[in-house]
């Protein structure tokens, strides 16, 4: 019996909606579960106090600081480099062998798994360069990891700036650099910022790479060469060691809230300022 196409369509579309529903369901479930179990344990004391008794009591303040430190420094290093690369690729050279090589490097870097970054960071930054397990080693490793993201999003943002802007700038007698900084970057800023915000999100959720480079010390990191533990790593250790499920959930809920905030911010930036190129 031949099934009429309209019926097949309805069946298939129904199936796809189910799949989509399941996908979204999983996401909502994870977020809801973590928040439901964790938020009740979050208090001002939790956020501002250091951990006591191996993390069984007290709070996560050093972890929040460590995450901010490592992420902030990492993005601070990666952003100018990534932006410079994007500017160079779009404004200062023509498509050719050179740009292909640079792009190949960035694209390959994007695909490398985080454990390999961790291995590299450990061998290169921690041991060979002698930085030890530290915020600096972690930040440098993370910088390498998010560099491709920043290059890609910055390049897209810069390319989206209409050519006319550039021509007008030249027509008025500006140098290339003036054109780039005063015209192109100003226009592309929201797109570039979105990329940076996404990079921040990636850094915050990273565990394997920081485990091997920034270490897992519980204390407040006071300098670049102090080792410390990020939120994700703290959550991993708390939950695996079975030290305190309540604190583990609480840490996870903070993580989820931060990620949600970052994603919402990036999304808002994109909606408000960036034109959809496609």
């Amino acid at each position: 019996m031949r099934v009429p196409p309209a019926v097949t369509q309805r069946a298939v579309v129904g199936l796809m909606w189910t799949l989509a529903g399941l996908t979204l369901g999983v996401l909502l479930f994870i977020i809801a579960f973590v928040l439901w179990k964790g938020l009740p344990n979050v208090s001002w004391e939790f956020l501002s106090a250091p951990p006591r008794s191996m993390g069984r009591e007290g709070g996560i303040f050093p972890m929040i600081v460590a995450t901010a430190y490592v992420t902030g420094l990492g993005v601070l290093i990666a952003a100018p480099v990534g932006l410079a690369t994007a500017i160079y690729l779009t404004e200062y050279t023509r498509e050719g062998r050179l740009t292909h090589v640079i792009r190949f490097g960035a694209d390959c870097l994007a695909g490398i798994p985080s454990i390999i970054f961790g291995l590299f960071g450990f061998v290169f930054f921690v041991i060979t360069l002698g930085m030890g397990l530290s915020v600096l080693s972690g930040a440098l490793t993370l910088a390498l990891m998010v560099l491709p993201t920043i290059i890609r999003t910055s390049e897209e943002a810069i390319r989206a700036v209409p050519r006319a802007f550039r021509e007008v700038s030249f027509g008025l007698g500006s140098t290339r650099w003036q054109m780039v900084t005063r015209v192109v970057l100003r226009s592309a800023l929201p797109g570039i910022t979105t990329g940076i915000v996404l990079a921040v999100g990636r850094c915050v959720s990273e565990t394997a790479a920081v485990m091997l480079t920034a270490g897992s010390a519980l204390g407040l990191p006071r300098g670049l060469f102090d080792s410390s533990r990020t939120l994700s790593l703290h959550f991993y250790i708390l939950s695996r060691e079975g030290i305190s499920m309540a604190k583990a959930y609480a840490t996870a809920s903070i993580l989820v809230v931060v990620i949600l905030a970052i994603n919402l911010f990036a999304y808002w930036l994109m909606r408000r300022f960036v034109a959809k190129v496609r």
Binding site: L218, D226, S227, E241
Partner: protein, 237 residues
């Protein structure tokens, strides 16, 4: 000052460091995990001043000074629902070798035995291998977990599981088997009758510097040892 090493020692070292840092403003002790072998390496490389170890030093690890800070029993644990309460060392070895595969062969219900072990290079695993397995390999089918806590969680939830972990962390959620008829508790570890005991070591290269020495002295002092005992370890002496 960095203290790096065994994940078994880590929670206790962190606790001691917290106490030490609170009373000594000028020296700051930082504790990391990474594993017993990593700890020894870190001391060798100069990355750490003190390495922590949950096994005795191997003969090829020369040039280090080991200082026993506590002793820890290794408990062989099973699920609370498991009927088996006592096993001989020989039986435990046969189980971990993969020769005995069902609980009914050692007096329990008809249920396949699920082996849980720690990762290669873990001090706890090294100690277990040294004390129980000898030269025999642990079966390839054993599930590997990367911390005492993970082993505990698994055994707690799986009625057919058997694992080994730090005695100090058992806390009544699991059943610690009596080995060769000897109960696994602090008393029997102290007087030496419980066979599965391993030292927790602080390892330094040569002689410790002043700051390290202060921390070591603190750890060996009666109040610190009492803290460790409260957490389930056994005093060094």
């Amino acid at each position: 000052m960095s203290v790096i090493g065994s994940t078994s020692v880590q929670p206790f070292a962190e606790m001691l460091a917290e106490e030490f840092n609170r009373n000594n403003g000028d020296v700051r002790v930082e504790v990391q995990g990474g594993g017993s072998t990593a700890g020894i390496q870190a001391v060798a490389n100069g990355i750490a001043q003190i390495g922590t170890c949950s096994r005795s030093l191997k003969p090829e690890e020369t040039g280090f000074t080991p200082i026993t800070i506590a002793r820890d029993g290794i408990a062989v644990v099973v699920n609370l629902a498991n009927k088996v309460s006592n096993l001989s060392r020989h039986q435990i070895r046969a189980i971990y070798e993969g020769k005995i595969t069902n609980w009914r062969d050692v007096g329990g219900t008809d249920q396949p035995i699920r082996l849980i072990t720690r990762e290669e290079g873990s001090g706890t695993r090294e100690a277990f291998t040294h004390l129980v397995m000898g030269e025999t390999r642990i079966a390839a089918s054993a599930i590997t977990q990367e911390s005492n806590g993970a082993v505990k969680e698994l055994v707690k939830n799986d009625p057919g599981a058997i694992g080994y972990m730090s005695l100090g962390l058992v806390h009544g959620d699991l059943k610690a088997l009596t080995v060769d008829g000897v109960k696994a508790n602090a008393g029997d570890v102290i007087n030496g009758t419980y066979p599965l005991v391993r030292p927790f070591l602080f390892v330094v290269k040569g002689t410790p510097d002043a700051a390290a020495q202060r921390f070591i002295d603190f750890v060996l002092s009666p109040p610190a040892q009492a803290m460790l005992e409260k957490e389930g370890l056994v005093r060094a002496k």
